[in-house]
């Protein structure tokens, strides 16, 4: 597995962003072999590690694979279709003398655009786990990791409950990716940590455990493992199902405001943050975002979603309109708004980075980002959401097809394959670093400046990983230290 930086100097020449990276960072990125992050020429050089995507149908299959990976058993006997078993067995036989690791993903196309395992090993496909149960009497739902956000949301609505976590871009992520870190769901009242009650997961020792409780919260006794699983992404365990809190709801209203300039959005956000309002979601976007998801036409769009009982909902809507002034009329519709309607997996834009900042520090950052979008062209846009307390999340994104980048062959795919995406992420990180904010990308961008941005927190996360997963079986590339041969 030893790969030297200098071996690739010639290949890197057309990609200045890659070439400027320090050696350690470069090695880390290359080892991830993200299909869309790296130019084709480089990917070919790294196509060495043997990755076996395994389709999992039952929890015991996952446990079996984990035991095999940890060396506890010599063979693995997976249930499910015979063809799958045959394939897996043959593949595993080829790897029987090697050390194995395990990564996971709730998706049918595990190699597409995801972080790939650093070491030879198993990539567990959990897309068969897609059951959803709603328990209205407890105001909770339990969803298996392979269910999509929309499936979960619709199941909740059928039981007159609302899953108060929404995407900022019109995407339809797998619910398990809340733990994986790629489902960027949030609400005005906070992110998944506010609603996640329990995760059923397999730990590094292959034990099947619950990080919390289905009926009562667990943030008062013992170490908060729900938060730890969320924070550590894919590195501490393999989740099978999630229990989330849901809210009873009567009606929801989406109120959309259109502004000619960004200043109007900014003033509206400030007014909402200062007002005694309790929206479900506040999202905004530039004209590109409006065209992609908010259906707002040419201008800047702000959408505020409200929910509640009859009179209280009406008073909220009235208060919102009073807050923004009569000269800014909103257009209200029943339901969860355009973003909800536009959410699909097939034609979703994908975010390049997630930037967290405060409302006070937003104007300068936004100005720089707008300049960047202007330079990079109409394939790029900016969307964002606001949380209570004036926290703003900005998602610079690229229009395109989240799937099939290797098959559709359009201009976006060509750009991706040229390594443009990686270069754009690098640029965004550099812009963000000039402002009081934190930037992260769940895929390659995660590597960029995490050590310097997160400092001791990052180091401590690694210590926790080492303390919990002694053999470093689960997603050993996850915390991104420069790889050592196993």
């Amino acid at each position: 597995m030893a790969v030297g930086y200098r071996d690739f100097m010639g290949v890197l020449r057309p990609y200045p962003a890659l070439e400027r990276l320090p050696e350690g960072e470069f090695v880390k990125i290359v080892y991830l072999r993200d299909k869309r992050a790296l130019p084709d020429a480089i990917k070919r050089l790294f196509d060495r590690a043997t990755v076996i995507p395994v389709k999992m149908e039952e929890t015991r299959d996952v446990a079996e694979a984990m035991r095999f990976a940890s060396g506890e058993v010599a063979g693995v006997n997976l249930g499910g279709a015979s063809g799958t078993i045959h394939y897996v067995r043959r593949s595993l036989e080829m790897l029987k003398d090697r050390d194995l690791s395990v990564d996971w993903g709730p998706r049918e196309d595990p190699l597409e655009g995801d972080v790939l395992p650093l070491f030879d090993g198993l990539l567990l496909d959990l897309s068969q786990f897609r059951g959803v149960e709603v328990h209205p009497e407890n105001n909770t739902l339990r969803a298996e990791v392979g269910a999509t956000w929309r499936e979960v949301s619709e199941a909740a609505q059928q039981a007159h409950r609302l899953l108060p976590l929404f995407p900022v871009l019109p995407t339809n992520p797998y619910i398990g990716d809340i733990i994986g870190g790629t489902a960027l769901l949030s609400s005005y009242a906070g992110g998944p940590e506010s609603y996640l009650r329990n995760v059923d997961f397999l730990g590094a020792d292959t034990s099947y455990s619950q990080s919390g409780f289905d009926l009562v919260p667990n943030n008062a006794t013992g170490y908060d493992l729900n938060s730890l699983l969320l924070m550590m992404g894919r590195n501490l365990g393999i989740p099978i199902s999630l229990t989330l809190r849901v809210l009873p709801f009567d009606r929801t209203r989406a109120i959309r405001f259109t502004f000619e300039s960004w200043d109007g959005v900014l003033m509206a956000l400030q007014a909402i943050a200062d007002a005694p309002l309790e929206p479900l979601r506040v999202v905004f976007g530039d004209p590109v975002a409006s065209a992609v998801g908010l259906d707002g036409g040419e201008g800047y769009t702000l959408e505020v979603d409200l929910g509640g009982a009859g009179e209280a909902l009406a008073s909220q809507e009235k208060a919102l309109q009073a807050t923004l002034g009569e000269e800014t009329p909103g257009e209200g519709t029943d339901g969860l708004g355009h973003l909800y309607e536009a959410a699909t997996r097939e034609k979703a834009p994908f975010h390049l980075a997630e930037i967290m900042t405060s409302l006070v520090d937003l104007p300068d950052l936004w100005e720089d980002l707008t300049t960047w979008v202007g330079v990079r062209g109409s394939a790029f846009g900016l969307a964002g959401s606001m949380q209570e307390g004036g926290t703003v999340r900005i998602l610079p994104f690229m229009r395109g097809d989240i799937r099939g980048t290797s098959t559709t062959g359009g201009p976006v795919d060509q750009a991706l394959h040229r390594g443009d995406r990686f270069n754009r992420i690098t640029e965004l990180v550099k812009i963000a670093q000039r402002h009081p904010c934190r930037v992260r990308n769940t895929q390659v961008g995660q590597l960029l400046a995490q050590d310097t941005q997160m400092g001791k927190r990052f180091a401590l996360a690694r210590r926790i990983k080492q303390g919990v997963d002694l053999a470093n079986i689960i997603n050993p590339s996850g915390l991104l230290w420069v790889p050592q041969p196993r």
Binding site: N139, G181, P217, N219, T221, L228, E278, A309, K318, A319
Partner: protein
């Protein structure tokens, strides 16, 4: 463990903090041998409850030095805030250095634009809330014992508080913590200016509920919000706990979201009445006592508070009144609601009448609320004593239940009542709930609660505190004094043994005479 150089440790600490902030005085040692839960004297057989040295640091750097010294000399360091823990979380079990944060009360920074308040961990919640108020902002949550509980101490113990029904757990409102890790390293867990959520290696939540076993919280950055425009509170009486449970469940099934929903059983209301009478009696003549407004004697009561925009408060109060009245509740006069609201942070005043009490907290599913209240009462009766119960809803499916036994801890039977804690915890786990806080008395509950994850938690503790310096022998394991045959080893108390010990006390308590303070008060018409 080496204890031989305590005098060296004392000199080092004195040089660091100054003589006036280091003590080895015996009287002070005794003060720190218990927290809100009075431990029976017999506990000293198994544990070294007296700290060897007590220190009062004022700054983060001083805490760093104390922890580094603890690591160097292999002395356990026990952090302590206001001592309001109910389960001996801040009481030494192996002696060592007791680090009290009570002088760390400084308001470090208030940023109204970015809506945060950074305050040292030893400030009480009253002081934190006042600081927010002084800045023209507010913080939406309060712990039950906010007057004494410190910011760092309460955050180390979780969890939830008054206002959680609407605003969630404290974790949602804590942006960042400054924590001194066991090796003396200082960690900022999140960002002050904005929320990181659970991502971006936000370690804040790891330290909430860790009961001080992973480090000492020296500063907390709390998210503030604008003061609410409107506020209202209403009280409802119910014929019994079952009807109250039905009413509260109906309320949680509606989209109405009150700020706080509290509940009280008859015994708690009797104790509150008794204390109100006692206070009036202590103040003045009998005529004044009779005119003093007191909580009515009700079989069960609920207290519902609302806040938000004026219109919203009005609309939600109206909708709530309809739901609870239809469920069999009776709206009480406004003064009752105001009285109960005013006493929300003083639930145990009756301690002054009885001479002591044993309180225990647990989270229970709302669907089994009345079962939990009845079970707590029955368990207390079995132990020949009486329980009063109060609590509040933490969200739409769970409630924090706080039963307390009214005892006289000066007597042996009063001290033995602590055994109730074990029986109640076991009962709550059977209801699919769990105890809140484990300290070193109740660590045997960790395995029933988390199963194989106990190993994971021990892995986390080991990776952050490999030398086991901070709050050693708590939460993830119980350590006790070495047994006589092995004087140089620490004794890891098997969970079963701890449980057995408390059960033995419980059985012993059942052989002793009854203590029926609440029944006596009721017979007197209190």
């Amino acid at each position: 463990m080496v204890y031989s150089d305590l005098s060296y440790a004392y000199r080092r600490l004195r040089d660091t903090l100054g003589e006036e902030r280091v003590s080895k005085d015996h009287m002070e040692q005794v003060l720190y041998t218990h927290d809100f839960a009075s431990l029976p004297k017999q506990a000293a057989i198994q544990f070294r409850l007296n700290p060897d040295l007590m220190v009062l640091p004022k700054s983060t750097q001083e805490v760093v030095r104390v922890l580094r010294l603890g690591k160097e000399l292999e002395l356990p360091v026990v952090p302590r805030g206001g001592g309001t823990s109910l389960h001996a979380g801040s009481v030494p079990n192996l002696g060592g250095i007791l680090l009290s944060t009570s002088l760390m009360k400084r308001v470090v920074e208030v940023d109204v634009d970015r809506r945060f308040l950074t305050i040292q961990g030893g400030a009480t919640w009253d002081e934190a809330l006042e600081a927010a108020e002084a800045a023209g902002m507010s913080f939406p949550l309060e712990p039950l014992l906010r007057r004494a509980a410190t910011v760092g101490g309460h955050l180390s113990n979780g969890g939830v508080g008054i206002g959680s029904y609407k605003y969630g757990a404290f974790s949602r409102w804590v942006r960042s913590l400054e924590v001194v890790l066991p090796d003396g390293d200082v960690l900022e867990t999140g960002e002050r200016a904005f929320d990181l959520g659970s991502r971006n290696y936000n370690l804040t939540n790891l330290f909430l509920g860790a009961e001080g076993t992973l480090g000492v919280i020296t500063k907390a950055t709390l998210r503030l919000r604008a003061k609410p425009e409107g506020f209202a509170v209403a009280a409802y009486g119910f014929p019994d706990m079952a009807t109250l449970g039905e009413g509260l469940r109906a309320l949680t099934q509606s989209p109405v979201t009150p700020y706080h929903i509290g509940f009280f059983d008859e015994s708690h209301l009797i104790m509150q009445r008794a204390f109100q009478g006692y206070r009036a009696w202590a103040r003045g003549p009998r005529a004044e006592l009779e005119q003093t407004p007191r909580v009515p004697a009700l079989p069960a009561a609920a207290l519902v508070a609302f806040e938000g925009s004026k219109d919203q408060v009005q609309a939600e109060a109206k909708a709530t009144a309809q739901i609870l009245t239809e469920a069999g509740g009776t709206r009480q006069e406004d003064f009752v609601a105001e009285l109960l609201w005013a006493q929300r942070d003083q639930p145990y005043q009756s301690r002054r009448i009885s001479g002591g009490l044993v309180a225990v907290e647990a989270l229970v599913p709302l669907s089994r609320l009345e079962e939990a209240v009845a079970g707590a009462t029955k368990l207390a009766r079995k132990m020949k004593t009486e329980a009063a119960v109060h609590g509040f809803l933490t969200d739409r499916s769970s409630a924090l239940l706080v039963p307390y036994l009214v005892t006289d801890e000066r007597t042996l039977r009063g001290q033995l009542s602590l055994a109730f804690v074990e029986r109640f915890h076991e009962f709550v786990l059977g209801l699919q709930g769990h105890p809140v806080g484990l300290g070193f008395l109740a660590t045997y509950n960790l395995a029933p609660m988390f199963g194989p994850l106990v190993g994971m938690m021990q892995g986390i503790k080991n990776s952050l505190d490999p030398d086991n310096v901070v709050n050693r022998g708590k939460l993830v394991e119980t350590l006790a004094k070495p047994p006589p045959l092995y004087p140089f080893s620490e004794f890891i108390v098997p969970p079963g043994l701890m449980r057995f010990g408390l059960r033995f006390l419980s059985a012993f308590r059942r052989l002793m005479p009854s203590q029926r303070i609440i029944t006596r008060l009721k017979k007197r018409g209190v």
